[in-house]
Symmetry: D2
Subunit: 340 residues, 4 copies
């Protein structure tokens, strides 16, 4: 079986990571590569690490260029996906790495992103309770945000088992690639090197409602989420420290997490006493978890490490493509990081 895929937004970081993974996928043939302002330039100028595609030239991101593929990955600025998807037709598998179709609530969309809600698509996090089977055979997938991936997979087992109260605090250290290639002063190397900085503080980061949506669905009740991202001097990686008041038994915590991870191909509970590092997940689709109880503070503490571009974006997209197409879920994906 060979699946012909196109990538829209191929000159950005998410697009580059999609191509890196798709080049290693045994069932995929890479078709059109499109971009916005970079259309017409060689891919090699933007993605010098993708040598097998060094001869490719970027085309315009239009439905015409993207048509004729079985799968189209969209790695576009938010607000751009719905129109393209509509033009591609319902028999094409469209996998949106952007935010447009993640939130189920139009009111939430309006508040956090502004403008018209494009509607929600099947949410591409197969590890959430009941989610895997719902992705089989679908033709539209909303790939989760990178922070919601880390935070949701960290806390989903606890909420599913009723271990914690719905008052979550998440502080997530992130590399810079999550912010994309936009030329912003605070993303200059001179500003980032040797420095840690918080941003989107006070619940204003757009990934906040997505975390609340995921955990609330499991809890069956609203979950209050205090989320703070912190930018650190590394290109990739998210390390999310996630805590909530413990209301269940501390004795059950480890077995709950062991069971939750046991069958998951990409979610890995580390041996007791070992804590996650983002380096160990670099370039891999794995999530590394560790959990403990802080008895003095009365809180469960879970730490999750993911590569924001792989499991946090492009790896999840490929994983969902596999599920949607009926391929083995792990095809073309690795749990091996590039370290050190």
């Amino acid at each position: 079986m060979t699946v012909r895929v196109a990538v829209a937004g191929a000159s950005g970081y998410a697009g580059g990571e999609l191509l890196r993974l798709l080049l290693a996928h045994p069932e995929v043939s890479i078709g059109a590569l499109t971009a916005g302002g970079n259309a017409g330039s060689p891919l090699a100028q933007h993605q010098p690490h993708l040598l097998p595609l060094a001869d490719r030239v970027l085309q315009d991101t239009t439905a015409e260029q993207l048509s004729g593929h079985e799968v189209v990955f969209l790695a576009l600025p938010h607000g751009k996906s719905a129109e393209i998807a509509a033009a591609l037709g319902q028999d094409v598998l469209v996998i949106d790495c952007g935010a447009d179709h993640r939130l189920t609530s139009a009111a939430d969309w309006q508040r956090w992103y502004g403008g018209q809600h494009a509607g929600s698509w099947p949410y591409g996090m197969p590890e959430l309770p009941g989610a895997r089977q719902d992705l089989v055979g679908v033709k539209r997938v909303a790939v989760p945000g990178c922070f919601p991936t880390a935070a949701s997979l960290a806390l989903a087992p606890a909420f599913a088992a009723g271990l914690v109260a719905p008052e979550v605090v998440v502080v997530a250290v992130t590399g810079t690639s999550g912010a994309g290639k936009a030329l912003k002063p605070n993303l200059l190397a001179s500003e980032v090197l040797g420095s840690a900085s918080a941003y989107g503080v006070g619940g204003v980061h757009r990934h906040t409602p997505e975390i609340a949506q995921n955990l609330g669905k499991i809890a069956g009740n609203p979950v209050a989420v205090s989320f703070t991202p912190v930018l650190a001097p590394m290109a990739r990686g998210i390390l999310a420290t996630c805590t909530a008041p413990l209301i269940g038994s501390a004795d059950e915590v480890r077995s709950v997490y062991e069971k939750a991870c046991a069958e998951e191909p990409f979610v890995h509970l580390l041996p007791e006493g070992t804590w996650p590092t983002t380096a160990a997940t670099l370039g891999s689709n794995a999530v590394h978890l560790q959990v403990t109880v802080d008895a003095d503070a009365g809180r469960l503490v879970v730490v999750a490490a993911v590569d924001n571009l792989t499991k946090g974006t492009a790896g999840a997209a490929v994983q969902c493509m596999n599920l949607a197409l009926g391929l083995p879920e792990t095809s073309g994906l690795s749990t091996v990081g590039v370290a050190p």
Copy 2:
């Protein structure tokens, strides 16, 4: 006035930072420099950045070498300070950068550090309510830990004003120098570069009881502290994200912090909308704060940036020396960081 000072532990990072600051202090003459295993070797081998002291040779850390100075700074492994201090006599100002005399509770010391509690000394954080005047004229100072400095100064105004409930979550990103020069595998550059990692998770880091002690004293009641340090690929700096449930009025938050910082020479509330970066504090004794309310989560969020070696250790030590000796509190200290 010229004060003759000695530094014990001069080959380590805290010792080096003390010397960097003391070289710039207008009232100080640098006397004995001592070390443990590095005694006998040139200081230049360990501190190549301190050119004016390039000819110095490290002596043994003994009371004999340290005697004859008006001020002795101790930057030693914990458990080593009490004996040296006792031998130096009560008329010498001894400033302990280590942990030995920070905790007031012998039970806490026993639990967190083990061994015999050496007793507590005046705690060197003049910005805490009522603390400044208690440091004038003292002959012993316990310099606060680096994380407690960031977390306590971030939350002290909120507790003093009754704005928050005593359930605190602190996640603090830190550079590697806080761990000192010990040769540990996880501190190798190859392990740290490109990676974030949590450690001491679940309330087991020794700075936890110190944060609780500081905040509890202000609150007048015990404060539960969930504290997680995260190691990031930078040599210096702490960025502490500190949250607690808001119980006071959100409208008062900013004015409370403005008043708390107004008279402080080293604690600076950033303009609204600007968030701290550790780079802006590098090498300075300043604490950069920003505060906001997350109405959805019902929490106050304060972010603090400090240089762990300066305000977090050596700068606080010099600040306390100034207060103890009756010098201007800011003498030899700067609020200007080295950036980018």
Copy 3:
């Protein structure tokens, strides 16, 4: 075909990279994993990024443990390989990632490494003139050093075409992983972060004679090599700036390099005007080259980027295994880097 391989030195950086590549190799089954001081501990403790091997325990590095495999990779401190290899027998393919069998001159060995020369093995750089066919079917391979890989592949075409005089200057910036996991003070993250430093200056680095050996063999005459490595704050990657006086025609330079790279699967000449970055080679077996002529200075300038652990060590080892066994040379190896 499934080849059963063992890795000696599996807890180090070279060993970890070998395992990362071997896990992705379609014809390989991973057998014994051995170590020195780390024998008896779980591999996961040392290589948390290798999830598929998380259950393995390290065994002692002895001929007994390593026997019974068709291929044995040695990633050992220098001086340790000869004895093990002798015990394994001549029908086992032994691939030595260490230095023991690289230098053909016993006098050079004696001068640069000291002790008894173990003899030289077929040198595992198939891209050198005439070298590829000599590796087919061999049972012993000496994997080149990381710096010699970058410098030799950068300058080999120029020497083969007679373009340059034999007075070479190489300054190579390197990440820290090349130094291994040894606990040395100058390799602590606090020392490396934010800092560049030269070491082994003045022709004393042990890779100097290996570069001279490679280039001298092509030139047919001794080549003087001034080599300076510079440590930079990154975990992986070598960027080698290589210059020599131009004695051929500047007009031929580009075509010489184009021809030299045209058939090579792993040596890639970048488009004119584009210069290599180490990031684009991270985790890949590719060498990125660019060449120009400095007419004012009368010198050819070639810049080469490689991943020191992949093409600079473990990737070359796998490439040589493929050649030795008659597998496709690129099997299990990628030219795709992990960027950003």
Copy 4:
């Protein structure tokens, strides 16, 4: 004595470093701060590390705003300085941190920068032979480029003593701040972190003729300079590896360098066997040098470390101000770095 100074280009990195140093200068009062596109915005927005100036607002860079000061520092894009300087009058000390007045040859200017040569000013590198006295009392100073500072101070003693042939190879690793705050894709943190890259290769970097000018003046003959800058993942610092064929006696090398450095307040020859690190010079005006002879290659090798923003730009500017005004040369400047 209080000297009133203005800084044009105060929102950039060079401008920020000037202000950091001027705040610590005992004889200086800081007057107008001007900018181009950032005029009208608070300085704190661009230089959050300069707390004592947090209330300042940037004015337009015009002669009117800059007039009324005894000293005006220009940190402007090249081509902008001559007009401003002409309007300020000959009794104002104008110190140009830009390139406009460094090159003495109009033909060189035309070739390397293009456009009309603005003429040359006294060159602000007092450590060059005979240069110091020529700076006393001047009213115009051209501050040297950062790479020429490192390379010229590294090799000046060798050329002055006739130790080397005029065929120089310089490869200089640099932090990102030398490129300023311009929003260029290759300066994004995601591109720089974990990566080394060469640029301006083949003698096309504009600092090349300045190095040749400095060394040629000492040698009394043209000096061929092969110069390659390499960008490394650090914000500050230059580590220049400088080599040339040795034609003098190897035995004299060390004493030549010892004598050359003996009286210099800012150029420091490290103890034998110790090699420079950029970290040790961070924020200081010191140049750290080490020298050796590579007998096999027949070359002198000198490694120099400087902070590109301090001794490489703003520190040299202040040093020259001191000389021009008759203040102590070291006033307001430190040889103490901020490390680690």
